[in-house]
């Protein structure tokens, strides 16, 4: 795999798994928030949902991808923006 360019936290923040409000109001990321973010990322990427940064997670984070966040505002833990058929 190519060299990893972001820390795991930076990656999760960049692609919308951690709420960016942390940046603006300078809150610390709690452990539970981090675990939830990792799980959401693992579900999205169809790898084992462990809640920890394991080898599969690191490999997925190193894959080439689009720079647009996967999760936009209001989409955390929610499927309400998905359209019904």
């Amino acid at each position: 795999a190519p060299a990893k360019k972001f820390s795991s936290e930076a990656y999760l923040l960049k692609f919308g798994y951690l709420p960016q409000s942390n940046i603006e109001i300078r809150d610390r990321v709690s452990e539970s928030t981090m675990v939830a973010a990792i799980k959401n990322f693992q579900r999205f990427g169809h790898i084992n949902v462990t809640g920890v940064i394991d080898e599969d997670t690191r490999r997925l984070m190193a894959k080439p991808r689009c720079g647009v966040p996967d999760r936009l505002a209001g989409q955390f833990n929610s499927r309400r923006h998905r359209m019904k058929r």
Binding site: P2, S21, I23, P64, R65, V68, D70, L72, A73, M83
Partner: protein, 439 residues
């Protein structure tokens, strides 16, 4: 699939290659062919048509395409070869719809090229154009909108997940018989050259017979508390509601209040101004934003201006500021434009500059739509975002809108009486509701 929420109002979408790759291995013709093929994938599965504009008209195109490296005047710097390949902006004005490719990648422009071990431009372009049309990432493996790079060539049919996504935004593609025909390919037609003198397009008017905006049926270009009085700007006019007229519920009463012309009160603003984009007050100064310039006032006396936005270290690609306010949470000044926002260091009134790690994406302000009309910090110290004829109150502590359902502006801010809304209740994103004056 996931729909982001913004879409183009037209189905004939223009695009242009504004800056080609600097890689001498690939020609401009190769790039254009890859981009055309990528648009064809979406055209074949939707009601949309895509029209290429020549380089000289690139600034007029809905979707402008550039190849760049590293920092490139937006909030998403590229990261060199690998990892992030490209990004795109959702539909909207300014940078809305634009697509940026990382020119540090090795772009492959021919499916028969198996030597270069590069990234196929067609596949990445087709994915990014999905964002330009309003689709977010999908978690369906194999879908075009899956965020990680996958091989995909121009002979592949658009995956079903993406096909349903684009149909959800723009409707079904109709065959000549009128029935739903996914993947219907239109007959090849000659694309006419763009009209060099297109007729002007005027926005819908919400004005009375004298050209003044209708108090109870209008959106707001800018809104600000100035010396504790509320000022609401629309077109060439503004309403002023003195502090002693604000009622106990902090709502204002504006029955029979007619707006005044902005330039005749704020001497020093252009006499031919058509609108004000944003206004905020900080300490003694009042700052007006109009287009790519700003003006500084003390009360209604001009101190400086016009000054270009670039002096604030805002990118020259920004054509206007949508809203400005000082946030009660930290007393810092924030500027909003399109999908981005900046924090302004205006502690030294002679040296306004945005802070170095801005702009950032507006999704930090959870629940607030992109491309707002205006924003206000009100006497209750809360921030209110306005778009169309509705507004959202923002909850600083939760860092999201207090309610996803917006509220009609006119009853609260103008003291108008709500009437039954013809098109159904206002809901998030629906900014087309109306109300009427109590009188």
């Amino acid at each position: 699939y996931t729909v982001q929420g913004q879409k183009w109002d037209v189905t004939d979408i223009t695009w242009s290659l504004k800056k080609r790759s600097a890689d001498p291995r690939i020609s401009e013709g190769d790039i254009i062919r890859e981009l055309r093929n990528a648009f064809n994938i979406w055209e074949g599965a939707s009601r949309l048509t895509f029209r290429e504009l020549p380089y000289r008209d690139a600034d007029k195109a809905h979707i402008q395409i550039i190849f760049e490296k590293g920092q490139h005047n937006d909030l998403y710097p590229f990261d060199g070869k690998g990892s992030i390949l490209a990004h795109a902006f959702f539909p909207g004005s300014g940078q809305g719809g634009d697509v940026h490719f990382d020119d540090d990648e090795i772009w492959q422009v021919d499916s028969r090229d198996t030597e270069s071990k590069g990234t196929r431009l067609f596949a990445v372009a087709a994915h990014e154009f999905g964002h330009s049309l309003g689709l977010s990432h999908s978690d369906v493996e194999g879908s075009l909108m899956y965020p990680w790079y996958q091989t995909f060539d121009e002979n592949t049919r658009l995956p079903q997940d993406d096909e349903r996504g684009i149909e959800a935004i723009y409707g079904w593609k109709k065959s000549p018989k009128g029935d739903r025909t996914p993947q219907y390919k239109p007959p090849v037609k000659e694309v006419p050259a763009p009209d060099p003198n297109p007729p002007p397009i005027y926005p819908p008017t919400h004005e009375d017979k004298y050209g003044r905006p209708k108090t109870c049926d209008t959106s707001y270009d800018a809104i600000s508390l100035i010396r504790q009085d509320l000022f609401i700007f629309k077109g060439r006019y503004f309403w002023r509601f003195p502090n002693n007229e604000l009622n106990k519920n902090k709502a204002v009463k504006s029955e029979n209040i007619l707006p005044s012309e902005t330039h005749s009160f704020w001497k020093g603003l252009p006499e031919d101004l058509t609108h004000v984009d944003a206004v905020y007050e900080r300490g003694e100064i009042v700052v007006f934003f109009i287009g790519k310039n700003y003006w500084i006032f003390n009360a209604n006396k001009k101190k400086a201006g016009p000054i270009p936005l670039t002096r604030m270290k805002i990118s020259e690609t920004i054509d206007k500021i949508d809203g400005a306010m000082t946030w009660g949470h930290n007393d810092k000044t924030y500027l909003f434009s399109g999908s981005q926002y900046w924090r302004l260091d205006d502690s030294n009134h002679r040296n306004f500059e945005v802070e170095p790690d801005y702009p950032r994406d507006m999704y930090v302000w959870k629940g607030v739509p992109y491309n707002i009309d205006s924003v206000l910090r009100w006497t209750d110290n809360h921030v209110y975002f306005f778009k169309g004829k509705v507004y959202w109150k923002f909850d600083d502590r939760r860092m999201q809108v207090a309610s996803e359902v917006p509220t009609l502006s006119a009853p609260f801010w103008m003291g108008c009486t709500s009437e039954p809304i013809p098109k159904g209740k206002p809901r998030t994103g629906d900014t087309s509701t109306s109300s009427s004056c109590r009188t």
